[in-house]
C-alpha cells in the first residue's frame, strides 16, 4: 500500500460516515456486523504472533478477558467517580471516557502479555502453545474468584457504549498498525524470527525481544477487542473467554493463512457469518465446522487464501 496513513484516515472517515446511517440498518445486521468487527480485530492481532512471528499462542481469549474486565471495571466503578455526570452526558464527553476505558483495558492486557510472554517465549512449538493455554485458563480461574469483579456470575449492566463507529475505527487501526509494523524495517525481524530462528539469532537479531514485542502488541489489541465486546454484550462471564474461544480465533488465522492479513480478515468475516447462516441446522453446525477444519488441514494446509510462490517452495528433505 503506497499511502497507509491516508488509507487509515479514509477508513476512519468511512466509519464515522457509516455510523451516521446506523439507525437505518436493521438492528440484527448491525449486531452481526459488530461481532464480525470484533473478531477481525482478534484474528488480525493474533496473526501478528501466530502468522508473522511464527509462534503458537493458544491463550488469546485470556488477554481478551483481561481487556474486557478491566475496561468494564473502568466504566462501571472508576469513571462515575472521576468524571461524574461528565461521562453520562453523551456525545463527545462520553466518547472520551469510553476511549479511556478501552485504552486502559488494552494496556492491562498488554501488561498481562508482557508478564506471560517474558518467561514463556523461551519455549517453542507445542510447549509454547501449552503454556499460553495454561495461562489463559489461569486468568479465567482468577477472574472466577475475584468477588469484586462478580466472581463466576461475571459483570452485568456494563454501559453499552460500543457502536459501529468504534468497532470499525479499531478494526482500521488494528489492520493499520499490524500491516505497517510487519512491512517496516523493524518488522522484518518478526518474519526472520519465523523463517529461521537459529539463523536470525546468528546474524545478531534479538529473537526473544521480537517475540515479546509481537506478543505484547497482539495482547494489547486483544484487550481492546475485549473492551469493545464487554460494552457491546453489556455482560461478561469468565466462561465466555475459555479455551474454545481461543481455538476459534486460532482457526480464523489458520483458515486465512498464517501471515496473510487479507486472508485472515476474510476468514474472520466468514467464520463469524457461518454460524449465523447455519442457524437453521444448529445441531450440525459445529460438526460441519470441525470436519471443515480437518479437511482443510489435509487438503490445503497453507490456508484458503494463500497462494504460494512456487519458487519459494522448500526443497523436499
Amino acid at each position: 500500500m503506497p499511502k497507509p496513513h491516508l488509507a487509515l484516515f479514509g477508513a476512519l472517515l468511512v466509519a464515522l460516515g457509516l455510523s451516521q446511517f446506523a439507525s437505518a440498518i436493521d438492528p440484527y445486521h448491525l449486531d452481526v456486523l459488530m461481532g464480525v468487527g470484533i473478531n477481525v480485530i482478534l484474528a488480525v492481532s493474533l496473526n501478528l504472533v501466530n502468522g508473522y512471528t511464527g509462534q503458537f499462542s493458544l491463550g488469546h481469549a485470556g488477554f481478551m478477558s483481561v481487556g474486557a474486565y478491566l475496561s468494564a471495571a473502568v466504566s462501571l466503578f472508576v469513571a462515575p467517580q472521576l468524571f461524574g455526570t461528565f461521562a453520562q452526558s453523551g456525545g463527545v464527553q462520553q466518547g472520551i471516557v469510553f476511549l479511556i476505558a478501552l485504552i486502559a483495558g488494552g494496556l492491562s492486557a498488554a501488561l498481562a502479555g508482557l508478564v506471560v510472554g517474558v518467561p514463556s517465549l523461551r519455549l517453542r512449538g507445542d510447549y509454547l502453545a501449552l503454556v499460553t493455554l495454561g495461562f489463559g485458563e489461569i486468568i479465567r480461574v482468577v477472574f472466577q474468584n475475584v468477588e469484586k469483579l462478580g466472581g463466576a456470575l461475571g459483570l452485568n449492566a456494563i454501559p453499552g457504549h460500543t457502536s459501529i463507529f468504534w468497532v470499525l475505527a479499531f478494526v482500521s487501526i488494528t489492520i493499520f498498525v499490524v500491516t505497517c509494523l510487519v512491512h517496516s524495517t523493524y518488522g522484518r525481524g518478526f518474519l526472520a524470527t519465523r523463517d529461521d530462528e537459529i539463523a536470525s539469532a546468528a546474524v545478531g537479531l534479538n529473537t526473544t525481544r521480537y517475540k515479546i514485542v509481537a506478543f505484547v502488541i497482539s495482547a494489547f489489541f486483544a484487550g481492546i477487542a475485549g473492551g469493545l465486546y464487554a460494552h457491546f454484550k453489556q455482560n461478561i462471564t469468565p466462561t465466555g473467554f475459555d479455551f474454545a474461544k481461543s481455538i476459534e480465533i486460532v482457526v480464523m488465522v489458520i483458515l486465512g493463512g498464517m501471515g496473510n492479513t487479507v486472508g485472515v480478515i476474510v476468514a474472520a468475516v466468514l467464520l463469524t457469518l457461518l454460524p449465523e447462516l447455519l442457524r437453521p441446522i444448529a445441531e450440525y453446525r459445529m460438526i460441519i465446522y470441525s470436519l471443515l477444519l480437518i479437511l482443510l488441514m489435509i487438503l490445503r494446509p497453507q490456508g484458503l487464501f494463500t497462494v504460494r510462490n512456487p519458487l519459494l517452495r522448500k526443497r523436499p528433505s
Binding site: S120, V131, V142, I198, I254, Y289, I294, I298
Partner: protein, 296 residues
Amino acid sequence: MSEFLQQLLNGLSLGAIYALIALGYTMVYGVLRFINFAHADVFMVGAFIGYYMGRIVPAGTIWGGIIVLAVAMFGCALLGIIIERLAYRPLRGAATLNVLITAIGVSLLLEYSGQLFFGAAPRTFPALFPVRMFHLGGLVISTNQLLVIVVAVLLMVSLQFIVQRTKIGTAMRAVSLNPKAAQLVGINIDVVISFTFGLGSALAAAGGILYALNYPSIDPLMGVMPGLKAFVAAILGGIGNIPGAALGGLLLGTVETFVAGSQFSTYKDAIAFAILIIILLFRPAGLLGRFTVEKV
C-alpha cells in the same frame, strides 16, 4: 492424620486415572511427536460405551464390570486406529502446527458428534462393580477407589511388559528413537503407529470408565478437563517417557486433591496449569525426561 491419609488415598485414585490417560498422550508423542488433543475425547467415548454396555450386562457383578471394561477398551482402540488412519496419516511429515490443528478438529468433531448422538445433558453412570465401604480407623475406603488403583496398576504393568518384552514393543521403542532408521531395519512404521494409537486409546477407555465410576455423571464434554490435566501429568513426568507419565499422573492427582481440600479449593483447576508452567520453565524435559540439544 486420618484426614491426611484419606486425602492421600483420594488423590492416588484420581492420580491413577490421570496416569492412564497420560500414558496415551506420552506414547503417541513418543512415536509421532505431536499432542493428540483428541485423546481426551476418546476417554469420553470410553465412558459412554461403558454407559450403554452397563445397561446390557447385569449390574453390580464383577464379571459384568470386566466385560464392560473389555468392550470399551476394544471399541476405543478401534476408534483410535480409525482416527489415526483417516486424520493423522495423510499429514505424516507435515508441519507440527497443522497436525496440532487437525487434532483440535478431531477433538471438536468427537465432542459435538457426542452431543448429537448422546445428548448434551449429563447422565448418571451405572454402578458396574459391587460397591462396599470399609471403615479402617477414621479412614473410609470404597471398593471403587481400590478398584481404580488395582486396575490402573495392572494395566500399567502389562503396558510395561508389552513395551519392554514383546517384539511390537521393541519396534515401538525403535520408532520413537529414530523413525527412519527403524524403517531401514525393516519395521513397518504404519503398523507400529496404529498399534500405539490402539494401545493408548484402550488405556484412555479404561480411564474413562474408572473416572465415571468415581464421578458418576457423564456428558460429551467430560473429557476436556481431565484430558488437559492428564497432558500436564505427561509433561510433568517427561513427555515420551512411560514411567514418567505414571509418576506425573499420581503426583498431579495427589496435589490437586490436597488443594481441593484446603482453603484454596476454588483454585483447584488452576493448580495443574501452574505446575505445567513451572515445570516447563525450570525443567522442560520433565522429572524423568532427558534433555536434548537442538542441532543445526
